[in-house]
């Protein structure tokens, strides 16, 4: 497995349009904010596990925009039912990328329960996502991205990642009124 998180995020950058919304969590969020700062980054979901649900609300309320969710594996385990909800809602503008490192990285890197056995791709497929697949090599991910993003959602991609260059964890900003207002202004401009 050689897919670094920062490399995976860099691979996504050329595919994210100005009008797209990106909901990201934890280290993927901090890395994405550093690599691709943009006003339509939705940087705080409030409670662990809620990224997919925020993404769903944004996708439903903004059908003309694509919504990318950069989720964590520990996070998704806290809200597995959201896979079913997302699939049931039939949001065609919803693109779910799971950054799976199999640990609770920002809480001490403790392993997930069932860390080596959990099949996230299978969860999404069984929940009813349009398509679900996994990647653990950068080149394959880069090659697959155009097809993923040209297909109607909800699409699920599990990225089996290792840590890359970690960017600073600016919790004060992501939870700030300024961050929310920046997003709100960009969404409504």
């Amino acid at each position: 497995m050689t897919l670094r998180r920062d490399h995976a995020l860099q691979a996504l950058i050329p595919h994210v349009r100005d009008e797209d919304i990106v909901v990201a969590v934890y280290q993927s969020n901090f890395d994405w904010m550093a690599l691709n700062p943009r006003p339509l980054n939705y940087v705080a979901v409030g409670a662990m596990g809620q990224a997919s649900s925020h993404g769903l609300g944004l996708a439903l309320a903004n059908p003309d925009r694509r919504v990318f969710v950069f989720d964590g594996d520990g996070s998704l385990l806290m809200n597995l039912g959201s896979l079913v909800t997302v699939a049931g809602a039939g949001v065609t503008n919803f693109y779910h990328f799971l950054f799976a490192n199999r640990v609770y990285e920002v809480n001490g890197s403790h392993p997930l329960p069932g860390a080596d056995a959990v099949d996230f791709t299978g969860f999404a497929r069984s929940a009813g996502y349009a398509e679900s697949r996994s990647f653990d090599e950068l080149e394959a991910f880069q090659h697959g991205l155009p097809d993923i993003l040209s297909a109607p959602g909800p699409q699920f991609s599990c990225l089996e990642i290792i840590a890359g260059n970690p960017y600073p964890r600016d919790y004060a900003y992501i939870h700030s009124a300024e961050a929310r207002e920046t997003f709100r202004r960009a969404l409504n401009s």
Binding site: G46, A47, S53, G55, G57, L58, A61, S82, A89, R184
Partner: protein
């Protein structure tokens, strides 16, 4: 999702709010998005009727905190939504409400059925612990709430929803008696 045993059958007859009026007033407040988990208090009077009403879009969720996030995210472009659930789900969602509604100052509007409440008693007088604690918990969290018990209690729905969106703060309507089926 049971908060308490079913109340005794022999209780005083009381009037109930109108489900049709509640739904009409939700629409009057500009709400077309409803997120819900079934609740037995509001099932027949609210959720089944609105699920068949083409003016509403109903998003069914698997767990209540999903709905808190969905409603909060929808609010960023001004889309008004309400979350419907039972008070057991409310208790389960308190951290999401604390973070998304209160810390982030987002207008999460909820309709919460008080399952297990005796229709003739106020929540604070209920024999059911799970009912009796709801209002004190919300008070401790500084969350705005109001009760829909009697006919005509429904009339405050539009101004309360308007106020929640104007102040960008949560509001919870506690449904103390099953709304009459339209």
């Amino acid at each position: 999702m049971v908060a308490s045993p079913t109340p005794p059958l022999e209780t005083p007859n009381v009037a109930h709010p109108s489900g049709a009026r509640i739904l009409s007033l939700i629409k009057a407040a500009g709400v077309r998005e409803v997120v819900a988990l079934p609740d037995i208090v509001t099932s027949d009077g609210l959720l089944w009727p609105l699920s068949k009403d083409p003016e509403f879009r109903l998003t069914r969720v698997c767990k209540e905190d999903e709905g808190i996030s969905i409603c909060g995210a929808m609010s960023y472009n001004g889309t008004r939504a309400v979350m419907m659930m039972q008070q057991t789900g409310l208790m389960d969602s308190l951290n999401a409400i604390r973070a998304i509604g209160m810390d982030y100052h987002l207008p999460i509007v909820m309709f919460v059925g008080l399952q297990g409440k005796e229709p003739h008693l106020l929540p604070e007088d209920s024999e059911a612990y799970g009912v009796r604690i709801v209002q004190p918990v919300l008070d401790a969290m500084e969350i705005s709430h109001s009760l829909i018990e009697e006919p005509d209690d429904e009339e405050h729905i539009p101004p309360a929803i308007d106020a929640a969106y104007a102040a960008s703060r949560p509001h919870i309507f506690l449904i103390g008696r099953a709304p009459e089926t339209p």
